[in-house]
Structure formats: C-alpha cells, structure tokens
C-alpha cells in the first residue's frame, strides 16, 4: 500500500490520506479484512503528526470504510463495497443537483457547467 502526500496541495493532509485509502479500497487493492498500518506507524513513516493520521482514520471509520478493533488496530470494513459506492453516488448526485439549481438561477448554460465540472474533476487527480 503506497500513500503519497503533498505539502503544497490545497487539500489538507488528512484528506489526502482519506481519499487515497478510499480509492485503494474501492479499486480493490485493499480487501475487506486487510489490516491498515497503525496510526502511529503511518505518522512516523510519512513524517506527519499522529493527530493527522488519527483524524484520517476516524473519518474513514465514520464513512464506513474501515473499522477499528480495540487492541488490534484498524481493518478494512467487511461492508459491501457496492453499497458504499452507491452511497457516494447518491451524494454526488445531490451536490450536482445543487450546482444545476444554482446555474439555472444565474442563467448559466449546460456547456459552461460541464466545462467547470471537467476542470474541477481534473484538479482532484
């Protein structure tokens, strides 16, 4: 499992970790039941604060991607990955609906909106 963080990105470090691990899980590189490195070990290797990794793991757990077993560590959740993907798809649709509403109110046409979407999407990569 490789995690690469950037200090110069606008995205906070914990978010970078969260999205990278999420992607690894969704892509199947991390299977349900796989053990994640301990928060402390990850912090040491990436040379960042333990508070950051803790926050990342807490968010992953909140979103249902991982679960922590007291005394043993954190593991990729046994939950149905499809279900999680559905959940995020629903959220994305919800946000896009808001964007569409906003655009319509200001008379912004679909092509322009699509352009913005494409630009934003590329920025995230």
């Amino acid at each position: 499992m490789q995690i690469i963080i950037s200090n110069s990105s606008d995205k906070p470090i914990y978010e970078q970790i969260t999205s990278q691990i999420k992607n690894l899980i969704i892509a199947g590189e991390l299977q349900p039941g796989d053990a994640l490195p301990s928060m402390r070990y990850l912090a040491k290797e990436l040379r960042i604060s333990v508070i950051t990794t803790k926050r990342a793991y807490e968010e992953l757990e909140r979103d249902g991607f991982i679960e922590s077993v007291p005394g043993k560590g954190c593991f990729v959740a046994m939950k149905n990955m499809e279900f999680i993907r559905e959940e995020h798809l629903r959220l994305a649709e919800e946000y896009l609906q808001k964007a569409v509403d906003s655009a319509k109110t200001a008379g912004i046409a679909l092509p322009e909106l699509q352009e913005i979407l494409a630009m934003l999407y590329k920025e995230e990569q």
Partner: protein, 282 residues
C-alpha cells in the same frame, strides 16, 4: 492515556521579566514544539518544570504527580538534553555510562551502547575531542538509555547540521511509537517542528500566545496579500498581525473569517510566529 505534562497557572517573576499564568498540557504519545523568541521564557519554563528554578505560584504535574513532592521518582523517567553537553570533558563514554549507572536506577548500558554505535561515537576519545554534533548525540543517547517516558530538549539542536537534525527527528518519531512516551522540545528551528510536532505552544514575553494541534494551526491560518483598500475592508478580528510595505499589505489571518475569493497563501510556523511577534509592533 493520561497527560504526561500538565502546567497550570505557572508564575515566576524576575526583575525585568516575568512568566505569567503559563498553562501547558502535553498528552502522552505526542511531540510538542515549544517555540518563541530568545528571552520569551522557554528555558525558564523548562527549568521550572525540572525544579532548577523555584516557582512563585502554580502547579506542575508530570505523569500525574506533583513535580516537587515526587521529584525523585519523576526524574527517573525524564530524559533531559540541554543546549550544551554537561559532562566533564575529560571523560570517555564508557566512564559516563558507569556514572549514569549509579544515578539512574533503570540505566541500561546496552541501550546506551547501541545508541553510541548508531551515532558512531568514538569509544576511546575524551569528550573534549568530540564535535558539537557528537556531543549532542551523546547527550541524547544518555537521555534515552534509562527508561525515560518524557524527553525534554532545550534548544538542543541549534548549531547542528540538517543531517543530524533529521536523524534526531527520526529518533523522536521512534520514541513516541510507544504511546506512553512524549517529547517536549523547545527550539528555534521551526522547520523541524513543523514536520513532526503534534502540538505547538508559542510563548511570547512570558505568556502563552497559543497552544494548539499543529495541523489546526496551519489549516486555520493563512497569509493574506492585498492592497491597502482591500485590507481596510477586511474584518479586523480575523487579522492576527500584519505588515504594510509601500506596495501593499501582508496579513496573518484566520482563513474562515475572510470572506470573498481573496488570495490566501499557506502560513508556515515561522510566518505565524513572525506576524504574531512583529505584527504586535504596528
């Protein structure tokens, strides 16, 4: 996990300088950077923690115990590194190990030997022939060879080259892999702290300006660069310090209190410190 260090309302008055109502909490398993300009009170605070100075009032608890009433047992578990090597310079490292063995009940000669090897400290030279970096490494090796749970460093890394400092940061990170341990390091070298600290405490003229998780600090603050007129329009409660030059204004601001799509750059620890201290003088 309990807090390794708890300081409450610490006060110490000197002629011309006083430490006022200092509050610091260091949770176990973390590294705290203690920063501030020269003369701000960093060394005074550390000396008060170690009872080298007598406090006027306030409370200091280490591992949950009072630092004066339980002084002897607490000090078994504190490893201290000052800015110079405090051993007599005619001694050799084997002799130091012998002496320390009588001072600390949990002194481990093997651990010391391993650090000495790791740091390539010469076994048969007197300390006076060591370079500054080697002397520091020796002090650190000694601090880590008696089962300490709290490491306190007072400007121990100034004057060391980046390579050595990097090695020392690795040692800190390794040290806190054990959740019961903690590191309290006072330093001027903010770039080091910015990398590995979990918490930052900033002291200025004897008072604590802030004590927060490092991430929060770096996320919340930013450097706003704008024109004089734009600056006038900004909500002043969001500004923590600013610098005007002939062509515009640079200000340390709380990001989420600045409305509008203005350019807000990342603030480094150094920025935060400089603006807080010098921004005072505007």
């Amino acid at each position: 996990m309990e807090n390794v260090l708890e300081i409450r309302k610490l006060n110490k008055r000197y002629k011309g300088f006083s430490l006022s109502d200092v509050d610091i909490t260091l949770p176990s398993g973390s590294i705290m950077g203690f920063i501030g300009e020269n003369g701000a009170g960093k060394t005074t605070t550390i000396k008060l923690i170690l009872n080298l100075l007598h406090r006027d009032s306030g409370e200091i608890k280490i591992f949950g115990k009072d630092n004066i009433r339980n002084e002897k047992e607490i000090k078994e578990e504190i490893g201290v590194v000052f800015d110079e090597c405090n051993f007599p310079d005619t001694m050799k490292i084997s002799e130091i190990s012998r002496v320390m063995g009588h001072i600390y009940s949990k002194w481990d000669d093997n651990t010391f030997g391993r650090y000495a090897d790791k740091f390539s400290l010469p076994a048969n030279k007197e300390i006076k022939e060591f370079s500054r970096g080697m002397k520091m490494k020796l002090s650190i090796a000694a601090a880590m060879s008696h089962g300490a749970r709290l490491l306190i460093l007072d400007e121990a890394t100034s004057g060391l080259d980046p390579v050595v400092r990097d090695e020392i940061l690795d040692i800190f990170l390794e040290f806190i892999q054990d959740e019961r341990n903690a590191v309290f390091v006072s330093t001027h070298i903010l770039s080091d702290i910015e990398k590995v600290a979990d918490y930052i405490t900033f002291i200025h003229k004897g008072r604590i300006k802030f004590s927060q998780p490092k991430d929060e600090l770096l996320e919340n603050y930013g450097i706003l660069k704008c024109s004089y007129s734009e600056f006038d329009a900004v909500d002043k409660s969001a500004v923590k310090g600013y610098r005007k030059n002939d062509f515009g204004v640079e200000a340390l601001v709380l990001r989420d209190q600045i409305r509008g799509y203005k350019t807000i750059d990342h603030a480094t620890l150094e920025d935060i410190m400089l603006f807080t201290v010098r921004g005072d003088q505007q």
